[in-house]
Symmetry: D2
């Protein structure tokens, strides 16, 4: 499937993310996904802050991670996010590769639902500002 | 499938796990899974430290999370882990429920592979100490 | 100085807090302090949630830590908090000891100021609910 | 006191560092200090990995933080580290400022001691490789 939008960041594994096995602890990857997702959404002018001002929040309801190779302290990982759906839900896949060698490190996926931040209720249609932002950005 | 082994912990959501939306940030759940998994494995006398002394480590290769209800500050969540496979890999499923109401909060799964900590190579057979610990524990 | 109020918790160092040196990473201790502080304040019926409902928040403005002995995976640490001041600011000291041996692990101190959550302005007098909670608790 | 060495990084506050009060949780600043300290030490060719190969580790024994202004999601903070001593101990001070306005956000200090990673014993003299790295770097 051709992605609707993509984004990419480089992250260097900091000492405080490395566990007793000498590799980035698996739970920290969820942060790396979030940083890439944020960078991607900002490319069409959308950010958590702005969504919140609009009264829409996007809780993560699915987060799946597949670890292929470990990451060490100081290693730079390229995190590429791809938006595959953005109607009533955001579906994003991620590919993490070693920035130096291009070797695959991790594959992941997140699904987020649109929720009205006032009522806490699910929105079953795409929030108009998201549709407009996507249209303006010609994606 | 009947679980081979189960374990359960109660975790109270601390302030430092709560995000700007007022709920436990989704990445912190990976810690909750680890705490329940550790409690379960200790029931048959197995712990990270001991495994490491034996030269076996168990990196997580799959971690899938499905979020059903949010968790708030101070809420106590029951995390139940169930071991479904323990041969060349550990497959564990998790159910998180609100301790007070029993309502389902999250379902998750992890898969871990046995790796020789000296060579870094995958072990394709179950480490004998694991088989023995399971036999002794009569599971 | 005789403490106005004390609180104590036992915390077992989880795998995800241990760094590449095999000891609890120094930044994680800030979480341990928070857990002990929360337990202490709840003894007089005060909690973050309740304070927030009252329109008062208590940002930490000073956090000083002195590390005496390292903590390892699985080690249980006793964290004792002592409230030394509670007027316009909360001053709390902490002593972390190994639960098994009683050996000192860490000494710390935090200072928090009362802030009006509506205006974001400092409160120069003790919020009445705090005075009352302390009086009721006979401390 | 004139610093022996300085280093500086820009850090954008990620969503996962923001707490229920809408500001970066105070414990996360310890990570920001570590990132700046690492950048500074790398300027003279020293890094955790290399020190570890030499058999020297530098546990943090003091970490003092003074919070002046809160940090919000998306805000970029400049973290400047200054090395004030490097003989048997590393003493480093930090100044965090808002990258846009220059306003002061936090002042901090860490002290680290040199420890032989084999014996776990304190080194009372400066490890030669540190002296040499500093000399080569003409600091």
């Amino acid at each position: 499937m051709k992605p609707i939008l993509t984004g990419e960041v480089l992250i260097e594994v900091p000492f405080h993310d490395v566990d007793a096995m000498g590799v980035a602890w698996h739970g920290h990857y969820v942060k790396y996904l979030e940083i890439a997702r944020t960078a991607m959404m900002r490319r069409v002018g959308l950010d958590f802050k702005q969504m919140q001002d609009w009264g829409v929040i996007w809780p993560v309801v699915v987060c799946n991670l597949k670890y292929i190779r470990p990451l060490s302290y100081g290693q730079t990982v390229r995190v590429k996010a791809e938006l595959l759906e953005y109607q009533a839900r955001l579906r994003i896949t991620y590919l993490l590769t070693d920035a130096a060698s291009g070797q695959r490190v991790n594959k992941a996926e997140t699904i987020q639902l649109a929720v009205d931040s006032g009522t806490g209720e699910l929105l079953f249609e795409c929030p108009p500002m998201l549709t407009e932002a996507m249209a303006k950005a010609n994606v």
